[in-house]
């Protein structure tokens, strides 16, 4: 191998205890088939999927049951064979605890595959468009947490040529180890996925970024690359520093390129995909199988057997917890995601989705600090650790003042909500909460503005229509009036009419002259 690659650094970041050994002790447990599955229609960024089945329909494993309704949307497939029970609102894993549209199905226990598209081991003969269509059919989304539809992400036409494919195996958030487990167990599948992605986007170089706290994963991937004799794929070990797994942070670490504000990595010639996404792409293309299961880390002091578990999408979280030995006496809070970016679940009766990388059954000590907020002492620690180089204090002041224009001037929407600022804050100010509040408040304002613009347009259209009708009515009346005024004059002038009238009078006189004598004669 050539001399070690230069690793750049990004500003900010935190050294955290990784707590990953808790869940990496055992091999990945295979998925079991629950009796009931709940599949939310919105598991991804973009439009919700459009339902293709109705209650009572039998479905085969892998059958498309809801299709992507828009360009930025993702399909949903039956994770096992069975029968559709209902399409209705069910509680989903969301910080609000609200319900959303879901397809509910019962499994028949047979787990028989439905009709699948052909496997394409010869994918190199397929065009990029065909492969993207296959990825789109398979409902592949970014499994690192962002759940952005992969078919859209790999469509790089019209953008700058991509020279580097970065595979994200950094997995920087404490406790989470599903990508680590995947890299240890299935390095071959990851390489398959990389080959397909490179074929689609035409990147000549591939870098796999992994944090140095995962030596087994690094070894497994390097070994696989060597045995397959892959060229231009390199495992790059990056120091463990949260959040090195952030897309823009990892790109900076590996290539030294900085993705500008408001732009995509493609603008610097890079495409970034998570390791699990690469495996799903390989499954979709090489085997014609859709995304119907994923690896979930179930961990924390509140669980008896922490580990990595395969779970069918739609499996209830409480079932997965039961599989991991159930809650221990330390359970304090069930967190969806990791301790830094995750959110607390109000109920464990919610389905595992494509976004679920971790269920953290946290003890009191592990749960995020909920101490009451104290005044800001302007120590500046938050700005020092911010990996995006924002000014968290400024954003806090403006959010408190509800001055959303100003917050956006400080690039609120560049905030990746990594939680570093809130973690180091000596006053326990929940900074990320403020930013999340501001982001959703701005979205609400935008929605309302759109709605009021629509109402204005419709009101103005109605106004012009009413005026037009009124003008037409007036014009008609005026015409009638003019016609009436003209009429008497016309009777006098018209020689034809006068002639007809004269003729009529003559006829009437004649008739009278003929008829009158007769009755007189009769009498």
């Amino acid at each position: 191998m050539a001399e070690p690659r230069n690793i750049w650094t990004f500003r900010g970041g935190l050294h955290l205890d990784d707590h990953k050994a808790v869940s990496t002790g055992r091999t990945i447990e295979p998925a079991s088939i629950p009796e009931r599955l709940v599949l939310p229609l919105q598991q991804h960024i973009g439009q919700a999927a459009e339902v293709l089945v109705k209650p009572g329909d039998p479905v085969g494993k892998g059958q498309l049951i809801a299709r992507a309704s828009d360009y930025v949307s993702a399909s949903i497939h039956a994770p096992t064979s069975g029968k559709i029970v209902a399409v209705e609102q069910r509680p989903v894993a969301h910080p609000s605890g609200l319900s959303d549209h879901c397809i509910i199905m019962d499994s028949d226990g047979e787990d028989t595959w439905g009709e699948l598209p052909p496997a394409w081991p010869d994918y190199t003969e397929r065009s990029a468009a065909e492969l993207r269509e296959r990825i789109r059919w398979a409902g592949v989304v970014g499994l690192g947490g962002a759940v952005f539809p992969t078919a859209v992400k790999v469509n790089t036409s019209g953008q700058r040529a991509i020279d580097t494919l970065i595979i994200n195996g950094a997995e920087c958030e404490p406790y989470i180890s599903c990508d680590d487990a995947l890299m240890r167990a299935h390095p071959e599948d990851i390489l398959d996925g990389i080959a397909i992605l490179r074929h689609i986007i035409g990147a000549h170089e591939c870098l796999i970024g992994i944090e140095d706290n995962k030596p087994e994963a690094i070894e497994a991937l390097r070994h696989a690359i060597e045995t397959r004799g892959e060229r231009d794929i390199e495992v790059v070990v990056v120091p463990t520093l949260y959040p090195s797994g952030g897309e823009k942070q990892l790109i900076k670490l590996l290539t030294g390129r900085e993705v500008p504000t408001n732009s995509l990595p493609a603008s610097v010639g890079v495409l970034c995909q998570n390791v699990a996404t690469a495996v799903t792409v390989a499954n979709a293309v090489l085997h014609g199988r859709p995304l119907i299961e994923r690896i979930v880390t179930v961990t924390g002091q509140g669980i008896r057997q922490p580990g990595n578990y395969r779970a069918l999408i739609g499996t209830s979280a409480d079932r997965l917890v039961a599989k991991a030995g159930g809650y221990s006496e330390h359970i304090h809070q069930l967190i969806f995601g990791g301790p830094m970016m995750g959110f607390s679940l109000r109920s464990d009766q919610v389905p595992i989705t494509k976004a679920t990388n971790c269920l953290l059954a946290a003890s009191q000590a592990e749960a995020p600090n909920n101490d009451p907020e104290r005044p800001c002492i302007r120590c500046g620690e938050c700005a020092r650790v911010c990996p995006v180089q924002l000014l968290p204090q400024q954003m806090l002041w403006h959010t408190r003042a509800h001055d959303f224009d100003k917050v956006q001037d400080f690039h609120l929407f560049e905030c990746i909500e990594c939680g570093c600022c809130a973690y180091v804050c000596p006053s326990h100010i929940p900074l990320v909460q403020y930013y999340r509040f501001a982001k959703t408040a701005i979205w609400t304002q935008e929605r309302e503005r759109e709605k009021s613009d629509l109402a204005r347009r419709r009101h103005e259209a109605r106004q012009t229509r009413l005026e037009r009708i009124e003008a037409e009515r007036k014009a008609r009346l005026r015409k009638k009036k003019e016609a009436l005024e003209k009429k008497p004059a016309a009777q006098d002038d018209d020689p034809k009419k006068a002639a007809i009238e004269a003729a009529m009078q003559r006829v009437a006189a004649k008739k009278a002259a003929q008829q009158n004598p007769e009755p007189a004669g009769k009498d």
Partner: protein, 185 residues
């Protein structure tokens, strides 16, 4: 002395002509302040401000004939935005009870509708579909919740349905409130 007078007179003529030309060339049609005010109003066209819609109210504010606190659907946020735009002091809302109403859309009980078209004529944004002696219905997405269709209905078959919160419209709570309301942790 004469040179100075001629120079000044010449300059003033030139600038006068320039200004006169600019006044014609860059003439602003309409009232830009009224447009800006109109853009801030919620466009429900409900008439609760006692004007015949949002635009007339905006024009009245621009002309200094109306206070900025007469828009209940816009609530305090609109009033503050108007105060900021116009450099006026914020004033409490005229009708505070009306402002606290949750957002709602009209709903026609179709079984009771007699097809009289009165509501269609009352709707300021054409959000009601129907024809004489045919059942009417409301296009949810276009209803502004102005309630103007309620009084004309002879059979009182129109009700207001509050718009529930969905995952797509949900907002993260402001942290202080979250701290108060939190039961866990």
């Amino acid at each position: 002395m004469i040179a100075a007078i001629v120079t000044i007179a010449g300059l003033s003529t030139v600038f006068g002509l320039l200004l006169g030309y600019a006044a014609i060339r860059f003439r602003v049609e309409g009232d830009p302040i009224a447009d800006q005010i109109d853009a801030l109003l919620p466009q429900t066209q409900c008439g609760q401000c006692a004007f015949a819609g949002c635009r007339p109210y905006a024009e009245a504010i621009a002309a200094g004939e109306a206070e900025i606190n007469r828009c209940p659907p816009g609530g305090e946020a609109t009033m503050i935005a108007l105060a900021e735009l116009l450099g006026r002091d914020p004033v409490p809302l005229e009708d505070e009870d009306a402002a606290e109403k949750p957002k709602a859309v009209a709903y026609i009980v179709e079984a009771e509708c007699i097809g009289c078209t009165l509501c269609i004529q009352a709707c300021p944004v054409d959000a009601i579909v129907g024809a004489a002696k045919q059942m009417h219905t409301i296009i949810d997405d276009e209803c502004t919740g102005c309630e103007l269709c309620l009084p004309p209905c002879p059979v009182e078959c129109i009700h207001m349905h509050p718009i529930g919160e969905t995952i797509q419209t949900w907002q993260w709570p402001y942290p202080k409130e979250a701290a108060k309301g939190a039961t866990h942790g």
